[in-house]
Amino acid sequence: MADQIAKISEVEFGVELPAFDPDTSIENVRRFGKYVGWGGGRFTDHDAARKEGFPGAIIPGVMSQGFLGAMIHRWAPSAQIKVIDTIFRAPVLVDQPHTITGVVTNIEEDLKQVEIDITITNEANETRVQGTATIELPA
């Protein structure tokens, strides 16, 4: 995969991570529900979610957080995520395209650590989830 980094010396302040389009399909969410949990109607059935007042089925928050982790690993396969904090600002809708973007906001060479801001946006470019992560990279 292009645009990957392997060590901290390759990271530049302000660099944008390659965007990642997560699989928000209802089939994938149902699979998540089957094996991991969060298989309730609001996540796996659009009609059931609408009856609860949502515009459609929603991605479980724990799955959105998992998307952020996968995005970091796709960019930096050797990274160890030390901390990741996720704020759920609005629902991520199932079967709707979303994009995850990230930017490097701090580099601590001595600690071999990098801080990243990550955002999940929908097609209208509305922020749904915000996250910050601290990762450790090889020297």
Binding site: M1, F20, P22, D23, N28, V29, R31, F32, K34, Y35, V36, G37, W38, G61, V62, M63, Q65, G66, F67, L68, G69, A70, M71, H73, R74, P77, Q80, I81, K82, V83, I84, D85, T86, I87, F88
Partner: protein, 148 residues
Amino acid sequence: MDDDIQVMRDQFLNQEFDEVTLEIEGTRFAEYAKACGELDQKFTDPNHEDFQAPPTFVATLVGRRNLPEDFPRLNGVGMDAGKAVEWLAPIRDNMTLTGKSHLHDIYTKTGRSGRMVFLVTRMELYSEDGTHVANADTRTVIRERPSG
């Protein structure tokens, strides 16, 4: 700090209220990894020599309760406002973890619609040999209904 919030902080912060035993299944975290889009086989392939759970997986581990049994009922609707994970050591297939939960923080923010109370519940996860492997925080927000 509002007086009622300070009272809750004094009474409940850092008091363990739940302890659970969690059996970790590699198939579960491998499916989690694949559904989330992980490509590294150390997260997706049980036969990989370094097979382990993605760091965010611990957010899926839940205790028996999210708040202390005697925690006051707040006047509003609670919503999941966020999750935070601190990774300390790898979690692997067939590990038995102990999850110990406490209220880690209570704070407020005031918006146009009134006060919002944030409750941060932290589950500390330990392996069988007592190694602290992760912290998983759940942030719940309660939008208070106007009184009167």
